[in-house]
Symmetry: C2
Subunit: 215 residues, 2 copies
């Protein structure tokens, strides 16, 4: 199976999916879409993904999978080893909830098109966009830190000592935070998990600056 | 198993989860949190869910599950019949992607705390909030309509003729749209699916006006 990843180096959802692919030990070709140039809005890509969002994963029969979390679930079902979710339903719910805290409460509010809309509709300049971005990161990272720190299920990583779905999302979000220079000082558990992830080749190889399209 | 649903009648994520619980034929007690009164930010609830968001599902051993999509996956794994996801991995990926289009691209941008933040940070009044809300609904509903209309996998509902995860999210989002009076005229496939869902008791019983805390 040849996997083609339509993505962009700086896209947080792309980073989380690259990490998952790497953890699974899967190789993939990359096609890059420069978001500021609106390459993801070109007709050829919209024919593959009407939402015009990256990432998408194309299979060798031209089937196109969209939405990073849906693709990660598909990877988990199709390439179960190594597992990125624990086996017990309550543990799986915990990991998914941690992942969705980032994927549903931070990233959707802070991606490029949303910051752009703040500029268009409210005249938000760089400083106002940073304040917005920082507000939503802080709101959810405060809760995420509490959740991780108080629960014995947290280990070297978000759940135990094996990286999984939540770690892919956390790693990508911390990279995204760096765009606005948000330090991790107030969130020691998150910071420690990030450092451990960043020492793993699967995550290093998913990091934005290490992509072929990085500028 | 006694299930206690911490929720609010008008919360879109609560509506989608109520629909899933109803489709599974599960009974549950409801505890209501009036969001405008910030009841979900009270210490007793924050102890259960540090993010202070509804819904959460509490089990009779006091385990608290958070994030509606994570809870729905747990329901699917724990109470598999009737299934809310198809069995084939590619079909599951399609349904999850449709669900996440709503859950990750619309709802996070349009919930009460985000509209409130627009007011606080940018002085957005009701009309500006409506323009923001409508923009994100339109952006994704346009893509969702195209995706549903062009794919033979779409049936009476989002995937075939059995309601599932994506339908729970779609139903809740359409109810949410009504708060700002957004008609479905431009999205005939979505409108037809909504009408079919709205004829089913599981969805009727999940609808905001039919909850005990509706005002």
């Amino acid at each position: 199976m040849t996997l083609t990843l339509h993505n962009f180096f700086r896209s947080s959802t792309s980073t989380r999916l690259r990490a998952a692919l790497n953890l699974k030990g899967l190789s993939y070709d990359q096609v890059s879409y420069a978001l500021r140039k609106k390459e993801h809005q070109a007709p050829a890509y919209l024919a593959k993904n009407p939402a015009g969002l990256v990432p998408a994963l194309e299979l060798d029969d031209s089937t196109v999978l969209t939405q990073s979390l849906a693709i990660m679930e598909w990877l988990e079902e199709t390439y179960p080893d190594p597992a990125l979710l624990p086996s017990a339903p309550l543990a799986r719910a915990r990991v998914r909830a941690l992942a969705y805290m980032i994927a549903c409460e931070i990233h959707p509010l802070n991606n490029l098109r949303v910051l752009g809309r703040l500029g268009e509709q409210f005249g938000a300049d760089e400083a106002a966009q940073k304040a917005w971005f920082t507000h939503w990161v802080t709101t959810t990272f405060d809760a995420l830190e509490t959740t991780l720190a108080r629960d014995a299920a947290t280990g070297d990583f978000c759940h135990g000592d094996t990286p999984g779905f939540a770690d892919c999302c956390l790693y990508a979000q911390v990279w995204n935070n760096r765009r606005f220079g948000i330090p991790l000082d107030g969130w020691p558990t998150i910071a420690a998990i990030f450092d451990r992830l960043d020492a793993l080749p699967a995550f290093q190889d998913a990091a934005p600056p290490n992509q072929p399209d990085a500028i």
